[in-house]
Amino acid sequence: MATPPTPRGASQESLLLDYLHRLDEHKAGRRAVHVHVSRLEAQNRREHHVRMAADTFDYLVKMQLGQIFILKNSDIYFVYKGEAQEDVETAILKLRFLFFDDPMLVKENEESNQKFRTFFNVERDYDKMLGQVRAMVHAEEEREEKELSKKSGGATDALKPKGEALSPRVLGRVIQALQSADMTNMVRRQFTCGLIGKATPQPLFSELFISIRDLRETLMPGVDLGVSKWLFNYLTETLDRRMLAMLGRSSDQSITGEISVNLNVSTLLSPEFMVFDDSITAAMRGSVVVELQKVDIFSDVNAFFFAREFAKDRGYRICIDGLTHETTHFINREKLGADLIKLVWQKELVKEVGERKVKRMLKKLGPSRVILCRCDDEESVDFGHEVGISMFQGRHIENLIAEENRRRELEMARRRSQNAADLIDD
């Protein structure tokens, strides 16, 4: 698929190096500040954050008091005339305010200041600055080279896709391709487990989903799905229908048992869902959890209520997916009528939000109904236990299950070999 050529113009790093060289003759009274935006949490480093941060220096640039460089890693490098020192400090203060909820800046002390920005006196620190910037240029060149060789090698990184943006037309083509694509091998499952203390994880149900990474690689290499959240949601409606069709006609034993599927409210009301509903037995409906996205509730509250009543009446259980600590306190679980709630694990729950606040939040939601999801490491489970959560989902849980399976296999092998040994002894 066609990828727009990226202009291989000079990077900001090399422009900065160039600028520093030219400054050699005019060092007196010049200062510089390096703002380490790259040290902030990923969610604070999105394009608009960096733009907003850079804007803070806008008027100083306009007044010709300084020159700004936005580096590849989102860091900001501002070289300015000494007379603007106070303005620059004010700008930094504004930036701190902008990112006030970032863990690095939560504490207002010199340590966090040091981490956030580095001031230079150009006359005094010239050589040091040159050295650092040279290293940056070098690193940037290396990175670019790697990327190029990666591209020619044909490897694509599903998490950081580059290339064609998901436009309505691209979406239309993808959906056409989906009609005839065999998607059975793109279905993944991930368990939600009961996990108490150090006991072995007890699988409660498994979520079946279509791997977006696989889908991207097979059907739309080079398409950037992240650019339009609305079009992506539309794509999920199509995926919903494919998933239901697969589940409905599946005689595959692996798809039985307690399962959950993530659906749009609109899908729940569609003829395709009726067909699925007809194809499974009443008893099986009780073992199906329908997961609905929080944004879908707010797109049409009325439709949500209607769909919920219908699904519950048929015997399905309802889980609200994608809640974060920021959204949970807007939501009244009881009024939503949800059986389960999925709370997204985020590191900030530990420090910035804190145990006490999370406990209070859980009390409102009913801790026994909350699943902590996207648990990637042990810390998430430890924290969950601290606050009284006993259901978990995520890569870490998958690892625990795999470990448990391995342990059991080994144990079984040991027993069997013992049997054999006993037989020989006899």
């Binding site: 009726m274 509250v301 009024k335």
Partner: protein
């Protein structure tokens, strides 16, 4: 879709469900004992609750009853359901009908009547007594159906929530074409205005702001004739991002210094965070206190983090922020206070008061009080009822057809019509 509304569990042919029902009624003329029929008046629900999927799902609710008893269900062209029963316990039927009521719990037409004979949602016909009456009714319905009358009229659905314009559903390719034609469209002429006002004890006090918006009806005719732009939530949302760009470009030529009233515009959060917002900001210059940016509730909840960034960005520069797209039912679900916006716009819908219990009302009142009544605006105010509902909660800020008249009268009185010569009414879109 014709097949969707035919008889369930019976022979389907090209005849209307009404005529199949008529045959059934005629067949049992001489064995009336133990037989009765129930009509479920789905056609009395609000238009937005009468879409195909509503009817389909309501009829499915009867599945278990149909499987276990001697009864049949007919879905009429009007959307009404007729259940024909023989020797079925009334309690069993009630049980199912209650389930249907729960599906439509936010619709006053589905409320149970307080006394016998007052239920507007169902009509019961016991054949030993009411056979003749019922047979005549069915004959009339059959005649009407054969003439094509009785098909629900979609036009009235154009007001209120989940508005559905008539037309073919949008798909990605037709959306792509619509976006293309949008790019070449002269949009300035399509910008309408509608005022939000503050109402005091003796009528309108002053204009709070003028909302500048693009009439969706007009736009649909221009860029996607024959299509329904609002048929799919996600595609529609994407379209609004494109509309944002055009609206901002068009508004960037205005002189904000000479604006007589505060301006409000509805934008996506992503738009405010993008380069497209820049030229507009430059045009607004230091007059940011004259501009209110409206965000949709769905956009806010799709990424609260991004909303907070955008809101802080706007607040820092002196803009006002409003959350649009709420309604009295969503107010029962969540507390918007923590979103820390200047205004919350709650869209009025016909019949909210009828579906509102005393507890609901008390909870809403508490909520409005805790967030601050001065932050709420009642939108789509189309009747005295709406105004009464809001005033009772202390809400004094309004927008809607009903208010437009007030504004026009006030402007004539003030002679200020020259500055705002085109007060427009807002289409029921989005």
């Amino acid at each position: 879709m014709a097949d969707e509304r035919s008889m369930i569990g019976g022979v389907s042919d090209k005849r209307s469900p009404e005529s199949s029902l008529r045959d059934h009624v005629e067949r049992v003329q001489h064995s009336r004992s133990g037989r009765f029929a129930v009509q479920v008046h789905l056609s009395r629900l609000r238009p937005q609750n009468q879409q195909d999927h509503h009817i389909r799902i309501a009829s499915r609710t009867f599945d278990t009853l149909l499987a276990a008893h001697d009864c049949q269900l007919y879905t009429l062209s009007s959307g009404d359901l007729i259940l024909m029963c023989k020797d079925v316990r009334i309690e069993d039927v009630d049980y199912v009908i209650d389930k249907v009521r729960r599906l439509f719990q936010n619709d006053p037409a589905a409320k149970p009547g307080s006394a016998a004979g007052q239920d507007k949602f169902t009509s019961w016909y016991e054949f030993e007594v009411d056979y003749d009456k019922f047979a005549i009714l069915v004959k009339e319905m059959t005649a009407a159906a054969d003439k094509g009358i009785g098909t629900p009229e979609d036009a009235s659905a154009g007001v209120g929530q989940g508005a559905h314009f008539a037309g073919q559903a949008l798909d990605p390719f037709s959306l792509a074409k619509a976006v293309d034609s949008l790019k070449g469209l002269r949009i300035t002429d399509m910008i309408n205005r509608q005022a939000a006002v503050i109402i005091g004890g003796d009528g309108m006090e002053r204009i709070l702001f003028q909302e500048y918006f693009i009439s969706m009806g007009a736009l649909q005719r221009q860029i996607a004739p024959g299509f329904n732009l609002a048929s799919n939530t996600w595609l529609f949302q994407h379209l609004t991002e494109e509309i944002d760009k055009r609206l901002l470009t068009a508004l960037s030529t205005r002189d904000f210094g000479s604006l007589p009233n505060t301006m409000s515009i509805n934008l996506n959060i992503s738009t405010v965070m993008s380069r497209d917002f820049r030229p507009f900001e430059e045009a607004v210059a230091e007059h940011t206190n004259k501009v209110v940016i409206e965000f949709q509730q769905i956009d806010v909840f799709s990424d609260i983090h991004q909303y907070r960034s955008a809101r802080n960005y706007l607040y820092d520069r002196g803009y006002g922020v409003l959350i649009d797209g709420m309604n009295p039912i969503s107010l029962r679900l969540f507390n918007p206070g923590d979103l820390d916006a200047n205004f919350f716009k709650v869209a009025w819908g016909e019949g909210f008061t009828e579906s509102e219990s005393i507890e609901d009302r008390a909870e809403t009142a508490d909520l409005v009080e805790s967030v601050g009544a001065e932050r709420f605006i009642l939108a789509r105010t189309d009747s005295e009822d709406a105004i009464k509902w809001a005033l009772g909660l202390g809400i004094r800020r309004f927008q809607g057809y009903f208010v437009d008249n007030l504004v026009q009268r006030q402007m004539k009185k003030d002679g200020g019509a020259a500055a705002d010569k085109k007060p427009a009414t807002k289409a029921g879109a989005a």
